[in-house]
């Protein structure tokens, strides 16, 4: 299992997509935070730094990686090298958990540093050490769970475009709409609802601990479904 995980992480480190996405995500969110802190009316530091946009990127990256195994038809080679398919899926899921954490650190830490400097320059309230730790764990936890979720949804659906478009529609349209209509249900949904609760969002969200539990449950459930399906699937 450790060998498999090391292999997956090597793949991740050496594909250009991942590096490119991390770099652009970092640049983009840095820009947004600087603009927000310098010009915006939003002066609540916490809201400024819990950047849920990043978390969607990791779910998409995980989905792209797993569906890529079918798109590039490398799944047969991967299964030949690691015939225990459940372990293979687990290794990929864990590697995208690690990737989510890495991405989140790379994006969040510079954002917080620069944002705090700008805020204090304007004479506005900054986050203390405790506040920073709070922002960090929320971002990391969400990214660590959404990466594997993307991998597992990808393993279930397999078609890259359908998976990516589906995830985006779900996160950006369906879940917010459900939340509007029936908040009690909407806040339990996997991509925007429960992560919103962990990040500490709006009125009506779950509080962080139950929201995190809901996210863990989603990830485990979808992992189980994907593993069960992958085990019996003919790879031709």
């Amino acid at each position: 299992m450790t060998a498999l995980l090391r292999a997956e992480l090597l793949k991740l480190r050496t594909t250009r997509t991942f590096a490119a996405v991390v770099a652009s995500a970092a640049a983009l969110s840095l820009t947004l935070v600087v603009l927000g802190a310098a010009l915006g009316k939003e002066t609540k530091a916490h809201a400024l730094f819990t950047n849920s946009a990043i978390t969607y990127i990791i779910v998409i990256l995980g989905a792209i990686a797993m569906t890529g195994e079918w798109r590039h038809r490398t799944i047969t080679g991967s299964v030949l090298a690691a015939p225990n398919r459940v372990r293979l899926l687990a290794a990929k899921a864990i590697s995208y958990s690690v990737a989510g954490i890495a991405l989140s650190i790379i994006v969040t830490v510079p954002t917080i540093i620069v944002g705090e400097l700008v805020l204090s320059g304007r004479g506005l309230a900054t986050l203390g050490a405790g506040g920073i730790a709070d922002v960090l764990w929320r971002n990391l936890a969400v990214a660590a769970l959404l990466g594997p979720l993307g991998v597992c949804v990808g393993a279930l659906v397999r078609n890259q475009i359908v998976t990516v478009v589906g995830l985006v529609i779900m996160a950006a349209a369906i879940e917010p709409a459900v939340f509007q209509a029936v908040p009690e249900v909407g806040r339990l949904l996997p991509l925007a609802g429960a992560p919103g609760g962990v990040l500490g969002g709006t009125h009506g969200d779950l509080s962080p601990a139950p929201a995190l539990a809901v996210m863990v449950a989603w990830t485990l459930t979808i992992f189980a479904a994907a593993a069960w399906r992958l085990r019996s699937r003919d790879l031709v």
Partner: protein, 310 residues
Amino acid sequence: MKKFPPLGKPKRPGRAAVEIRDLSKRFGAVAAVNHLSFEIEPGRVTGFLGPNGAGKSTTLRALLGLVQPSSGSATFGGLRYDELDEPSARVGAVLEDASFHPGRSARNHLRVLAITGNHPPHRVEEVLSAVGLSDAADRRVKGYSMGMRQRLAIAAALLGDPQVLILDEPSNGLDPPGIIWLRGLMREQAADGRAVLISSHVLAEVAQSVDDVGVIADGELRAQGPLEQVLGGSDGPATTVRAQDPVRLTGALERRGHRVDRDGDVLNVFGATPEEVGEIAGHERLAVLGLAPRTRSLEEAFIALTGVQS
């Protein structure tokens, strides 16, 4: 290269390297493989032959645990592929249309496989040079030719120095030097005591390098055994003879119960060896201008066995 355990020796001597027992695989209404049984032995190159759609790839995929058999089993010394401790050290496989992530290089691809299979990093360099890809190893696979991809697939199969090598139409895209190299590789592997299984829909392509063959058509095994035996067919000896007086020789042969096909002054005689034909001609005082055993051509044998016209 010999830092590996002596993989050449089968773990349980006398046990076939690959055992396929009553294997069937259906895809919906299509019976791709139908109650197929055969074995391959260590130290031999076995050709797995059959026309397009015969079920070769399906059989190999079932053997490698990629598709689930509908019934029957396909094992390596009794163990399914997914039950092997170190699959890549036991079995190396090159599948049809080998695919790689286009954005990664050959070296990177092999490094990932080496980590997964616990093979030392120097094996990557060894197999790269064995397949002649050392110079291109850091280029992205996207820019590789078909033959280069095929070489990379072979390198990946060799990485764990496996006891069993399974090659599904491996000469696809290889140039003539590549094909000759591949033949040499298969012979070397067999000489080392390993088992090699190579599938093809062209008998002539593998006839020079295989010891045994299994012939499959419509998902069923049609013939199995050493190449010469399978090529010889089951219709007994046959002789080609050129006679000065073909009409009289034909009459003499047919009186003795042999079937004769006449083509000008050349006669194909079925059921008789050259010695017998010569004796009959001598007895009748007929001059014989040429006399040879008749062997089926590779294509004739293939068509006769599979019932498929090319």
